[in-house]
Amino acid sequence: MASLDDLKKRIASVKSTQKITKAMKMVAAAKLRKAQESAEKGRPYSEKMNNIILNLSNGISDKENTSKLLSGTGNDKVHLCVVMTSDRGLCGGFNSNIIKKAKSYFSKISAEGKEFKIITVGSKGNDQLKRVYGEKIIENISFKESKNVNYFDANKVGKMVIEKFEAGEFDVCTIFYNQFKNVITQIPQAQQIVPLNNEEDENNSDESYEFEPDEDEILSNLLPKNISTQIFKAMLENSASEQGSRMSAMDNATRNAGEMVDKLTIEYNRSRQAAITKELIEIISGAESL
């Protein structure tokens, strides 16, 4: 059995760990509020963008000759997967959930006999994927320096995707990220961005618009922007999810540390009492023998 001193030390160390996790939880909570706010503020832009594109693609006259970003290359041989994770750890299952989702997608694709390439955004995803899929990773981007998610960064990723598309390096592009639902639930998402999926609501197709210049030109201008917008949306969702996930993970850690402290304290008290009793018995039996 551990000595009293050992127990005391262990209690102290668990307590200090608890302090750290508690502080991390507080920080995550504060950051979460900010991230959530900016995720909500960013929504109108991507929604409006989606709406306009929907209206445009409905109004387009020549569906065959539209931008390849909308209609696709006609094949789906090579898939590009943009896996978006965080740069920091200690956030529960946040990164593993995305990786799991991505890995299941990879194996599905390889089972169909198609190729895939990976771009990782965020260093944690790269760390986890490079062991198994090292040679598939063609690019690794990390935004450790930028404090907040900003459109400029998203644009960089978007431009890279478009360049690779124009160079014919892939046919289908999917982004992986965590959608923020609430603090305890984040849903890993796989969203196809090239070619654009327009299966959702097509109820407002009756709108007639005037276009200046014509549809095709607007569309070819808009689609690259839409990719950056979608990536930006994913980054915002991701950062809110990361903080939410970290907050609940740290909350759990704090609670576990509390339980451990309680258990250790009881053990400490018991052994202290046992030592006292032992000493008393020794004294009494010593006195009796006189």
Binding site: S38, P44, Y45, I52, Y151, S208, F211, E212, P213, K225
Partner: protein
């Protein structure tokens, strides 16, 4: 009858501006400046670098944009842009920085005609502001 309509300017990070009492908006559309009044036909267009002027009951606002899309529908004007500056608030030095950036871009050789045109526009507008 009121002559007002609603304007909303959003950039990726947030809703930049939302106004209900707007009487006229002039936007630098790709094929020339375009004034929009109430009950304009539904239109989608994109912007080149220039100045958006918003006339409203509560005063006039001027904004510098580098790109964007405008959508007008049911007396709702939405402007989506990734780079917008309120000319009443932005500092001179910021505009000068933008001008410098644009000039650098223009000096690159491998730009195509359309980007060249846009960059030239940008420089022209920024020069007139500085």
């Amino acid at each position: 009858m009121s002559e007002e309509f609603k304007v909303e300017i959003v950039n990726p990070e947030k809703s930049f501006l939302s106004k209900e009492d707007v009487t006229e908006v002039v936007v630098p559309a790709f094929e020339g400046e375009m004034g929009i009044l109430k009950d304009h036909i539904s239109i989608i267009s994109f912007l080149k670098p220039g100045i958006i002027t918003i006339h409203s009951k509560s005063g006039e606002g001027k904004f510098y944009v580098e790109d964007g899309i405008v959508e007008f529908k049911n007396n709702n004007l939405s402007i989506l842009t990734s780079s917008i500056f309120n000319l009443n608030e932005v500092e001179k030095s910021k505009l000068q920085d933008l001008l410098k950036l644009a000039k650098e871009e223009a000096s690159k050789s491998e730009v195509n005609d359309q980007t060249k045109y846009l960059v030239d526009q940008k420089i022209e507008v920024l020069k007139s502001l500085n």
